[in-house]
């Protein structure tokens, strides 16, 4: 058990960076999808902390992602030209962390007032928040208004995306698998019983929101420097729903399942490209069928909360 988790993290990061070095041998199209997979794992696993482990229904994940994406992109757009090439990765790292931090602050801002709400009400408030964020970016000249931000430098590689995916998994799994972290699951199971056992539900919920938003912001930063164009409509509530579907399909609160669901739901639409216009119909039908046959989530192996 000693240090097992840290070894996992280091190996995963090393593998991501190693693969990234050798990325020139891969087809660019597949490489792009692989990066998408990494970004979606970050989004799904971080949302899983809020929706799965802590049991709060947030529909605002795309909003946090947008905050991180726009913040990071603006930073590299403004400072990109004045930073020497050798320092570019550092600039990118700073942009990612800044994007995550600003998103975390947004998470705190949404989390605190929303905590008096439960279930459906919380979902609606977070949905409203996501839309407000989108509209702010849509109307702000500074962020390119409806056209969005363009000309972002390509900085996200396989290594960046997967390394941060590994970090996200590590952070969420480690937090939940601890005496401290069992408080999240207690809040999910029964708030009244949790508070009778000395657990402060408000504090846990805010923490889940802040950590979840932080990683959503990181995913946004990676996304911005992968797609190179940021448009406000890319962060509408359909995007939030996509992430929610990954969490539900993966089995709420099951990290391994959620990772698999993120991979499958990223690749599936690509596989369906040949059927062109029927693509989204088949995708939707598959999801309906899966929900009908496996309402507890597609992948329920492994202990809840554990990643082993």
């Amino acid at each position: 058990m000693r240090g097992k988790e840290k070894i996992f993290l280091l190996v995963a990061i090393a593998a991501a960076v190693g693969l990234s070095m050798a990325s020139s041998i891969f087809n660019r199209y597949y490489l792009g999808i692989a990066v998408d997979v990494g970004i979606n794992i970050i989004l799904a696993v971080s949302l899983n902390l809020i929706n799965g482990h802590t049991g709060q229904f947030s529909l605002g994940h795309a909003g946090f992602m947008a905050v991180g994406g726009y913040t990071a992109a603006k930073l590299t757009l403004v400072f990109g030209a004045s930073v020497p090439p050798a320092m570019q990765p550092l600039l990118f790292l700073a942009a990612i962390l800044l994007g995550g931090t600003v998103a975390a602050v947004a998470g705190l801002a949404v989390g605190i007032p929303s905590l008096r709400l439960r279930g459906d009400y919380l979902a609606i408030v977070t949905l409203g928040f996501g839309e407000i964020i989108r509209v702010i970016f849509q109307t702000s000249e500074f962020f390119g208004a409806a056209t969005g931000l363009t000309g972002i430098t390509k900085m996200t590689t396989l290594g960046w995306a997967w390394a941060f995916a590994a970090i996200t998994v590590y952070v969420v799994a480690c937090i939940v698998n601890s005496t401290y972290g069992r408080g999240f699951i207690a809040v999910h199971d029964d708030e009244i019983a949790a508070s009778a056992m000395g657990i402060n539900p408000t504090r846990y919920k805010v923490t889940a929101f802040v950590i979840g938003a932080f990683f959503a912001g990181i995913a946004g930063a990676l996304y911005a420097h992968h797609k190179l164009v940021l448009k406000p409509d890319g962060f509408d509530f359909v995007k939030s729903i996509e992430i929610v579907v990954m969490v539900i399909l993966g089995g709420m609160g099951r990290t391994a399942g959620v990772i698999l669901a993120a991979i499958i739901l990223t690749i599936l639409p690509e596989l369906l490209r040949p059927v062109a216009e029927y693509r989204m119909i088949i995708y939707s039908l598959l999801i309906i069928a899966l929900m009908l046959t496996r309402p507890q989530g597609l992948f329920t192996f492994g202990k809840k909360g554990a990643v082993k």
Binding site: Y180, R182, A193, S195, P201
Partner: protein, 260 residues
């Protein structure tokens, strides 16, 4: 008399026009086993919720070991030593038996996010200690063989016992049991009475027991308070309560009412 473990002083709570508990005075001494009884709707569970901070009184004072507790949140009261079980069992449904107990230990651990992330030696030692203590506690109640099972998969009586174990894991000074005998058969009730006595002596705590079942209450409580329509109508030893005309009237009705 020294400072009581728990003291309620003229505690009243109103929900709109309804006075659920009215000017309730109640004292529990150290290591005392006190019963709180009354017919349905008498305000017993409301009194529980007032003591544990779920409800705030409209007027009156509540003090734990002489310190005021009005306005303090339930989780803080839990850390100060008030623990409870619930009338309708509220175990953590997605957790194993062991995790239910471990979760209740987290309040006293002061672990932080950073500890869980870094997973250093101090963290691993604290995790091992928590697991060891939780298993020891389960062993006392003969539940350790179910440690890995889902809490919700246990038989009903064991779920009740697990809830008591979980409450004890917070290291309380005062344990509140809300109708622990509900739904139990006579044999299980006997065992429960044994268990409550045992818990009180072994953990050296005070117990406040809300219960419908007269046999259980009369059998183990040292003192009993009787509520009816939110008011205290009697208090005393089981013997005194048994003979109190007001109590008999509240439970069985008076002759006048029968005529009406």
């Amino acid at each position: 008399m020294s400072v009581p473990m728990l003291e309620l002083d003229k505690v009243t709570i109103k929900f709109g026009g309804l006075t659920a508990v009215c000017e309730l005075d109640l004292r529990i001494g150290e290591r005392e086993l006190v019963g709180l009884i009354g017919p349905n709707g008498a305000g017993k569970t409301t009194a529980f919720n007032l003591i544990t901070g779920v409800y705030q009184p409209t007027s009156g004072n509540i003090a734990l070991c002489g310190e005021n507790t009005v306005g303090i949140k339930p989780h803080v009261l839990s850390l100060r030593g008030i623990s409870r079980t619930f009338q309708n069992i509220r175990l953590f449904a997605s957790m194993s038996v062991l995790d239910n107990v471990r979760t209740a230990m987290q309040g006293n651990r002061a672990q932080r996010v950073s500890d869980a992330l870094w997973r250093g030696r101090a963290f691993r030692e604290s995790e091992a200690r928590v697991e060891h203590e939780a298993l020891e506690l389960l062993k006392i109640f003969n539940l350790d063989r179910f440690a890995e099972a889902d809490g919700k998969s246990l038989p009903y009586g064991d779920q009740r016992r697990l809830e008591i174990v979980r409450a004890l894991a917070t290291k309380p000074k005062l344990l509140l049991l809300d109708e622990p005998a509900a739904g139990m058969n006579p044999t299980e009730k006997e065992q429960l009475m044994e268990l409550i006595r045992f818990v009180k002596d072994k953990f050296r705590i005070a117990v406040l027991l809300v219960e419908h079942d007269m046999k259980v209450v009369m059998g183990i409580c040292e003192r009993i308070y009787v509520l009816d329509y939110g008011r205290k109508i009697a208090e005393g030893t089981p013997e005194q309560i048994r003979c109190d005309p007001k109590v008999i009237a509240a439970y069985l009705g008076t002759e006048d009412e029968d005529d009406a």
